[in-house]
């Protein structure tokens, strides 16, 4: 389990760096491909609670360190994304027992649910900035900046889940639901 958690940490770190080099989708009005949420959400569905929390902390912090300018003008406190990732992460962790039953259909369904939760951190960031700047500004680009990653994740997340389940097998991680004593 620890080995797989480390694999996920390493992958989240790598894809966080990688996504900085992926250009935005012009045909989706500049929406970005967000890779780390898919890896985080798989961790939330398979790892026990403490590791899930650690993974959420790491992903949120890494996201802010790599994308938010360290300046008062950003109107965003570094580390806030930890809380923004906490909500979808815990929702998915709550469905862990369903995921671990191992049925392909529920796996696919939860992968799609994870994809639908992908825009939540972006929405949260937008809400924080709007609150700090005291202006709710709206245009098509904003809508796509929030929803676009979710649209892309509908295709991307099941593929990531498939690869990660294969990787989990490689490091001999067979997650089971802990039964209360």
């Amino acid at each position: 389990m620890i080995r797989f958690a480390f694999v996920l940490v390493l992958l989240i770190f790598l894809v966080s760096i990688l996504q900085l080099y992926i250009p935005p989708m012009i045909w989706l009005k500049g929406a970005a491909i967000l890779l780390p949420p898919a890896f985080l959400f798989y961790g939330c569905l398979t790892l026990p609670f403490p590791q899930t929390l650690a993974l959420i902390f790491l992903t949120g912090l890494l996201n802010d360190l790599l994308t938010v300018p360290f300046a008062p003008e950003s109107n965003f406190v570094i580390g806030s994304s930890i809380l923004l990732y906490l909500i979808p992460g815990l929702v998915l962790h709550g469905l862990r027992s369903v995921f671990l039953q191992g049925r392909w259909f529920t796996g696919l369904l939860l992968a799609e649910l994870a994809a639908l939760l992908t825009p939540l951190p972006s929405l949260g960031q937008y809400a924080i900035i709007s609150f700090e700047r005291r202006s709710v500004f709206y245009n098509d680009a904003i809508l796509w900046r929030i929803l676009g990653p979710g649209v892309i994740a509908i295709v991307l997340t099941p593929c990531v889940f498939l690869i990660l389940s294969y990787l989990a097998g490689l490091v001999r991680y067979r997650p089971k639901v802990e039964r209360p004593a």
């Binding site: 300018p69 300046a71 937008y126």
Partner: protein
Amino acid sequence: MSGGLKKLDELERENRELRTEIAELRTSNALMKNLESEVNRLNRALGFREHSPFNLLPAHVIARESISWWNSCTIDRGIANGVRVDMAVVTEAGLVGKIVTVAKDSAVVLLVSDEGLKVSVSIEGTQEQGIISGTRASSNYTPDLRVGFISKTAEVKAGMQVFTSGTGGVFPSGVLVGTVKAFTIKELEGVATVEPAVDLTRIEDVFVITGTR
């Protein structure tokens, strides 16, 4: 007859060779054109650096932020080169932004197109001053800017140039920011829509203003 056929073969070969040569010349011509535009761009930058009233530190854009709500880029100069937070960044065309984070060998520039960057500006040919800012998100890297707090009675027309006013002390005065596209009168203020002077999609080489001469 055989001599004529031989000549036809030769002509075909010659034709093939000429076609190859044309393709090669076209490729080298395209390369020359690229080089020419590169030399022109560097000449303009050099001329700007020599004639500018500011001390300019040349820098190269090494990364561009595209996945977040903030418009920024990273340059290859940092503390080791004398770059400090709040220094203005320009090109020969005009204002790019300001330094917000500095590391040893790199620095993050918040672009003028970012909503959070407010710059005090004055409009050419008028006594009008206002605050210019960008937009929160746009599908375009170079979205129009917005100058607020202009007097409702101001005679601002499309085509007028907008310069930094120097108020606030971060940006030196007289740096071109953009050109007015439209002027609208709102309830409390006049608002000018400004096209940025710098094409932020294509910024490669910039200058950090480290002081005045």
